[in-house]
């Protein structure tokens, strides 16, 4: 009865899978499956060329500096394709290391620059002697409060719309008060932890965008998110009691 199906590409899981990116894939696939929508996950390893035209949603995860450098080289070969694909609206979710690669460059503490895809007007530098930005994070977004864990040395600066306003934690550079990026159908963020399981509203927004891009109806049946909501509440209460739960609880109500 449901003809909708989604092609999800997980780019370089062999190199960029430092912080439980698998949790994000599992969340997307399960939330589709529970609604009777089939999903195919294409694991694009460093040996394969990404076939961007075949995907409805692309995930780029996080890795260590060394692996990121390798991935940077692979990605650079497909820079023009990427530019064209995201210009045409390809949904792209990039986390941590993957997020940094969307900008012009990522400058390592030793001064070396890893070239990025240059899809966004953005750059990242690790600086010297700066502390890593580690800890629990909550941001206010159009999808309600998005929460998770951040652990990054790089400071990212851009002029696009941020993903959210920092309620707790460091965000893009620890100074601006903003976290992540949301430009066209591109989402970039330092929140892993992983990002999607505890942020089902955001996960659904990503899925709806991808379905629309694939030419399907973007309407998603509501799911029973009691377990998700209780994990969110417990996480805020235990780790970030300073973040008020009331607006979140309000936005979490099914419409």
């Amino acid at each position: 009865m449901n003809e909708r199906t989604l092609n999800i590409a997980h780019l370089y899981p062999d190199l960029l899978n430092l912080y439980a990116d698998r949790g994000n894939i599992v969340t997307l696939v399960q939330r589709l499956r529970w609604r009777g929508i089939e999903a195919t996950v294409h694991e694009v390893t460093h040996q394969d060329a990404p076939r961007l035209s075949a995907y409805d949603l692309v995930l780029l995860g996080g890795g260590s500096d060394r692996e990121q450098e390798i991935v940077g080289e692979y990605l650079l070969k497909h820079k023009q394709e990427f530019k064209a694909a995201v210009d045409s609206g390809l949904p792209l979710l990039a986390i941590c290391g993957g997020y940094q690669l969307l900008g012009a460059f990522y400058q390592l503490p030793n001064g070396q620059k890893i070239q990025g895809l240059d899809i966004l007007d953005m750059y990242t530098s690790a600086g010297t002697g700066l502390p890593r930005l580690i800890g629990n994070v909550a941001i206010e977004t159009e999808y309600g409060i998005v929460m998770g864990f951040e652990n990054h040395g790089g400071r990212t600066v851009h002029q696009h719309r941020p993903l959210g306003k920092v309620l707790h934690g460091h965000g893009n550079d620890g100074e601006s008060g903003y976290e992540g990026v949301h430009h066209m159908n591109i989402w970039g963020t330092y929140i892993h932890g992983p990002l999607l399981p505890k942020n089902p509203q955001f996960a659904d927004a990503v899925l709806a965008t991808a379905l629309e891009y694939a030419g399907h109806s973007a309407v998603l049946d509501p799911l029973d998110d009691v377990v998700e909501e209780s994990a969110r509440r417990a996480f805020l209460a235990r780790r970030m009691p300073d973040v008020t739960t009331s607006p979140d609880a309000a936005t979490a109500q099914p419409k």
């Binding site: 062999d14 599992v26 040996q47 652990n151 029973d224």
Partner: protein, 456 residues
């Protein structure tokens, strides 16, 4: 000498107050005598080091138990594997004048601590269990761990006892270029079916090509080879044939030795094999190896069983690979069962629990024998969420944040259904749970005894 006196004094004071002294005396002693370990190093004849990611504590205890049948040994108990724990181990075997009561030490050493003491001790053998990804917030990256191990090995003249089935260990052996012995599981026990599992180091460290696996045991342990260069699993000098309750140790040209397994599970079979191989390299014959295994008491949380109203088996989980082997061990136990998983996020557990998403809890979803799950600990809700996305119906998952209450409830429902309980928990929940379960087992035994008495 000041360090020794102070260390001994602290140990004595702690003991007077009935407290455990595995690290603290060494910590204080090192404050006064920073070169204390090197000082002891000049007074001991030989040191055997056990390092690696998973199984250090079990392997060290097994090896120490085997060697103790030949001579007294100094060893660090209960996983106190940082500098302070090692200093404490020496202090406990030193007189007030610093004379040591044993000539040999068997030490478990943390990978990051190893380079700090590698050149201060007369290390003759280094046994490496495996190199897996551990708590990322502690070490950063796998490469860093490998480099630390390598730099430590280079500071010694020791020979190596390495896990042939682990490509990262094999690489370490090739880079270290010295006398190296390998141990590994018998080829025909590897599983041909490839399960999608998280593997570390699946790239050839010689040429960068992706390694090919003909079969594997768990994690990255398997029959690997590089398709483009000559990097491959070496033929091990010591081969283990794991048969559940027993394991045969095979060496070329020697008769097979049948060893009784004091601890269950494939990952423990690797620990027994590592310890037995190191013991052979040191020169022990089969007798003490056999006897050492017989009088070994598993430490807390390693398939530790309790004779409560419904039997409970308790396991420590702390990183994805270790957790996978525990989940595999639980799933491979026949019959129905109740499963309790307690997750805390205190400093000793790691504040970030994202590793739960890398662990293969999907195995539980495939096991229809689990009648119910209870998620517990400070991060009970996160665990419940993980189980839900693993594909387990939410109606089979209950949240009970308090671990004691979770165990009570699990034992009660398991008793009614006449099934056992398997409990998994992170570090800061372990000792409390051991304590509670020990008390429950004692009550159960007493109740049974009284019951029998009244009948007779």
């Amino acid at each position: 000498m000041l360090g020794i006196w102070i260390g001994k004094l602290v140990t004595w004071l702690l003991r007077m107050r009935g407290m455990d002294a595995t690290s603290f005396p060494g910590k204080i002693a090192l404050k006064f005598s920073p070169r204390l370990i090197a000082w002891f190093g000049r007074r001991i004849e030989r040191v055997i080091v056990v390092t690696g990611t998973n199984g250090k504590t079990t392997t060290t205890s097994l090896l120490a138990a085997m060697m103790q049948h030949e001579e007294p040994v100094i060893t660090n108990h209960k996983g106190a594997n940082l500098l302070q724990g090692i200093a404490t181990a020496f202090l406990q075997h030193a007189s007030w004048t610093g004379k040591l009561s044993a000539k040999t030490a068997v030490l478990e050493v943390d990978e990051a601590t190893f380079p700090l003491l590698a050149d201060s001790l007369p290390i003759v053998v280094i046994a490496v269990t495996n190199v897996f990804r551990d708590q990322l917030d502690r070490y950063g990256e796998l490469d860093v761990t490998v480099d630390k191990l390598f730099s430590a090995i280079r500071k010694t003249d020791a020979c190596l006892v390495l896990n042939a089935d682990d490509p990262i260990c094999r690489n370490l052996g090739l880079r270290a270029s010295r006398k190296t012995y390998y141990y590994g599981m018998s080829r025909d026990t590897a599983r041909a079916a490839l399960r999608r599992q998280m593997r570390d180091g699946q790239f050839c460290m010689n040429c960068g090509h992706e390694l090919v696996y003909d079969a594997f045991w768990y994690g990255q342990l398997g029959l690997y080879r590089c398709p483009s260069c000559d990097f491959a699993r070496p033929h091990p000098e010591f081969i283990g044939v794991y048969r559940g309750k027993t394991m045969a140790l095979c060496e070329e040209q020697l008769p097979e030795v049948e060893l009784k397994m004091p601890v269950q599970g494939l990952y423990n079979a690797y620990n027994v094999l590592a310890a037995a191989s190191a013991a052979r390299v040191i020169g022990l014959w089969a007798g003490p190896i056999h006897d050492g295994l017989a009088d070994y008491n598993p430490p807390d949380g390693r398939m530790q069983s309790f004779d409560t109203k419904a039997p409970v088996t308790l396991n420590l989980i702390k990183n994805p690979t270790g957790c996978d082997s525990v989940v595999q061990a639980v799933v491979s136990e026949p019959g129905e069962k109740v499963v309790v998983i307690g997750i805390n996020d205190l400093a000793a557990d790691g504040r970030d629990v994202s590793w739960l998403w890398d662990a293969d809890f999907e195995l539980f979803a495939e096991d229809a024998n689990v009648v119910s799950f209870i998620a517990s600990g400070y991060r009970a809700e996160d665990m419940a969420l993980r189980l839900k996305y693993a594909g387990i119906d939410s109606s089979r998952i209950r949240v009970e944040s308090d671990m004691d209450a979770a165990m009570d409830s699990a034992i009660e429902s398991a008793r009614l259904q006449r099934v056992p309980v398997f409990a998994l928990c992170t570090y800061t929940l372990l000792h409390k749970t051991v304590h509670t379960l020990t008390a429950k087992a004692r009550d159960h035994e007493r109740a049974n005894a009284e019951y029998r008495a009244s009948v007779s």
